[in-house]
Amino acid sequence: MKLIIKNGHVVDVRTGRNGIFDIVIEKGIIKEIGKNIEVTGGDVIDATGKYVIPGLVDAHCHLRDPGYEYKEDIESGTASAAMGGFTSVACMPNTNPPIDNQAVVKYVINKAKQEGYVNVYPIGTITKGQKGEELAEIGELKFAGAVAISDDGKPVMNSSLMKRALQYASMFDITVISHCEDLNLADEGVINEGYQSTVMGLRGIPAVAESVMVARDILLAEYTNTSIHIAHVSTEASVDLIRHAKRRGVNVTAETCPHYFSLTEDACDGFNTMAKVNPPLRTRRDVEAVIEGLRDGTIDIIATDHAPHHIDEKNVEFNLAANGLVGFETALPLVITYLVKPGILTIEDVVRKMCLNPSRILGLNKGVIDEGRCADITIFDMNEEQIIDVNKFKSKSKNSPFHGFKLSGVVYHTIVNGRVVVREKVLL
């Protein structure tokens, strides 16, 4: 059966399309794009007044499956992703067991095929068991379907091992994603080191704990002539380091997350564990630097770092609370509210940073609306406002510091491989 998206404002960066078009989809493939296409029969989605963009691609999320299904599983996680307009997500390997061998990669891929609402691409570990001691079987991980490797949640502290990981991974052309955190400097901190850590008497994680590792990984990639992707950039110095490295021609790419351009450490005041995340929320100055990095292209990707946790893991002492927040269902509205509406990013930039770039960096062949391409499409209203209500999230977990925020931008329809999975804001 045909699916026709009528009269939407199509924005695609690869083809340069930016205007009102109709899109005809057949058998999961975009068959035709044109003005006022006359089609008889088929399912019609009226996209008048809405933006039609390539399905969002998340380069960084946690689906918690296998091992932590009480927080999230592939079904609930991908349902949440679909509601947020994501059609492809790359999930981090800190599961239990971790995605450090072929069997777990296959488990994730197969489970996603059976119960996933969107495309799922597993990320393997860099080291066995994410222990930072020995390299995982990176070739086999790639062969099984892992699109990148990362010890996300933990840094590879041993610089020599990280150097070898970059060299070894380059042989298989698999992206290495670095969680940049010097654990000695982080020193069991639970919040940014600054005014809030001082006032609340909490151990601080200094900004430099991130930046020194960003510097190290840039230098290692430069030295070994390989590429590296820096996860969740949160500090001014990290943005500067990446900017300079790019100018020098180092093959470095970087991502940030909506909470790093919309919130500061002040969100933790009153021991608000919903705002406890790693890297921690920083200062206004860092937020402005991250925004500037997004504006000038230093930061390539906006990822969610969707990190579901059970309420019992958040409703505890701040020191004991789990790090992370759920991000799928707030990401696009936050981007629109904090970046597009103030004129920092255009819709084309959003498509670049949330569709094309993540797809390119992970080698996914997604992020484009064009004839002959797979029909992964997100349709949203740019101006409609919503009050974020965590209880309406499709994610199993409700840990979001954005509960009650009034944001612009509402996802109406999400189409994955030509199948409508979210229609009129409702998960099908």
């Binding site: 001082t198 909490l202 505890v316």
Partner: protein, 313 residues
């Protein structure tokens, strides 16, 4: 005025008027405490539970005696810090205590913010008896009470807090409280033991003890924990004393009628020399007495929240 709070979690979010009200009430309590008959019915029919996840001698005893002098039923629970992470959650423990008809829970906990978490989840009033590196409001109140008693005011006094500011909940509570009452607070300590952005809290920060001591009206030493040295935050206790210890000679930099205070327990010869501890300027022992008076005042005010016997809304 009347005291309408359910809990006392810290001095950061409390007004100068409320602090003054507690201190005024403590004056009456001190009269009772220093009289021949230390028994009042202020807390008759009320129950107080002390829930301590950290060791404490003076704070705990101070609360226990305060509630006993006023006729409350009291009970103590000690929990080892190690059981916090694995055993029953704080909220569950708190609810259990709550359901037994407890009016006030006094909590000490190694983690900052734990009393706030407890307070949100119980009907009983919660008093913070020290949480992590966050606050120790009753210590600060007794410190302020002691200063008021000796100096008659806090306004415009130069108060120097010396030592490990980074890990000190006593310093934080005192900074909030004293600055609210108009004192000029400064801190000094090894740079590795000074947290960032302190000046935003309204205090002057010095890295030499001399600058802090000049013309000080009050000097407060803070306890140095031995394990900080082992963690590499400063090289040795010997060197700490050399640069930040308070001896007779340094004491001369301060005003003639300076008060020397310390929350205790003191490491003799490290934070202060014995001659300073036992000298004329020291009010360390009176601090302990005043601690009971201040805690009597707080227990009384919190059980009366909303006014005299009226129900609060």
């Amino acid at each position: 005025m009347s005291f309408k709070r359910k809990d006392l979690l810290g001095l950061r979010d409390i007004s100068a008027e409320e602090i003054q009200y507690i201190l005024d009430t403590a004056k009456t309590m001190k009269l009772i405490l220093t009289s021949n008959n230390k028994k009042t019915p202020h807390l008759q029919g009320k129950s107080v539970v002390t829930l301590f996840y950290e060791n404490s001698t003076r704070t705990r005893l101070s609360f226990e005696l305060a509630s006993k002098y006023m006729g409350a039923s009291s009970a103590n629970i000690s929990a080892s810090a190690s059981s916090v992470a694995k055993g029953e959650t704080l909220i569950d423990t708190g609810k259990t205590i709550d359901m037994m008809g407890t009016d006030i829970i006094v909590i000490r906990h190694p983690m900052s913010g734990a009393p706030a978490l407890l307070a949100k989840n119980v009907k009983a009033s919660v008093i913070n008896a020290g949480d992590g590196m966050n606050e120790h409001p009753t210590q600060a109140l007794l410190d302020m009470f002691t200063i008021m008693e000796k100096k008659g005011k806090l306004e415009d006094l130069k108060i120097a807090i010396i030592g490990d500011i980074y890990h000190s909940r006593v310093a934080r509570s005192n900074i909030w409280g004293m600055t609210k009452l108009g004192a000029k607070v400064c801190v000094a300590g090894p740079t590795t033991l000074l947290p960032p952005c302190m000046s935003k809290m309204g205090v002057k920060v010095y890295s030499t003890i001399q600058e802090a001591l000049i013309d000080a009206d009050v000097i407060m030493g803070l306890r140095i924990q031995q394990e900080r040295q082992k963690k590499g935050l400063f090289p040795s206790l010997r060197e700490y004393f050399k640069y930040f210890g308070l001896d007779e000679k340094r004491l001369k930099l301060a005003k003639k009628d300076v008060l020397v205070m310390h929350p205790g327990p003191v490491n003799r010869g490290i934070e202060l020399t014995s001659s300073v501890i036992d000298g004329d300027h020291s009010v360390i022992n009176e601090q302990v007495t005043n601690g009971v008076a201040v805690r009597m005042a707080l227990l009384y005010l919190l059980t009366r929240r909303g006014g005299t016997g009226e129900t609060d809304n």
